[in-house]
Symmetry: C2
Subunit: 131 residues, 2 copies
């Protein structure tokens, strides 16, 4: 039975955006993409697996970096076209740049002076942390 | 100057997913889509404006329901292809179904018994609350 997978409104590429939120702090860590198989594996293994659009392959997050996302809860929205994971972010690093979260660029300034400013420190030297 | 808008990796439709998170509770409320103009208006007005993919029009969230999203902070991720808004959710209702948030469907059960279960009460009768 996979009615729960059929319930999702996958887009024309068979994907849906999946937001991962730190279960403890509430911080939004990452936005990645899942296909049906990625979500199925995520549920079966209890660790987030995404679909890498650049590599066109399933991507078990943490497989090279050790920074797995252990799943606490999975939700979908009213239109069933977006997924929300509450996760434990292993090692406290979710971004391939070695930062705690991918959303480290904050809009600052006003008028013609607006710019994106990196607000999070790099906790681990990148290279080890991709994936 | 709109370098900050050019910095975003809009997809082939000119869109990027935009997650809205309650600034007070940390709850992830909605995932919608923005184009360049939607983000520009959001920044200028301080209230979230999205691109409605179904209506193919700009959508000032709250324009019909009163449930505006007042923007506290705007972030983008490491790939600059996803947007995160921290917002004040006016009236405490972010979903067109009259619920506090759109992510009200939680995956429950195990094995062949998995199913999505609505975990949030309807706080306002829908009809008034679309948009």
């Amino acid at each position: 039975m996979s009615d729960w997978l059929d319930a999702i409104a996958w887009n024309t590429d068979g994907l849906a955006p999946a937001v991962a939120q730190d279960a403890a702090s509430g911080e939004v860590l990452t936005l990645a993409w899942m296909n049906r198989e990625a979500l199925e594996r995520t549920v079966e293994t209890g660790e987030a697996t995404y679909w890498s659009r650049s590599r066109k392959a399933l991507w078990h997050k943490g497989e090279t970096s050790g920074h797995f996302q252990k799943v606490v809860e999975i939700r979908i929205d009213c239109d069933a076209d977006a997924i929300l994971l509450r996760v434990e972010s292993v090692g406290g690093i979710a971004c391939h740049t070695g930062r705690r979260r991918c959303f480290f660029n904050k809009l600052e300034g006003a008028g013609g002076e607006r710019r994106w400013v990196a607000t999070e420190p790099v906790l681990e030297i990148p290279g080890k942390t991709h994936g």
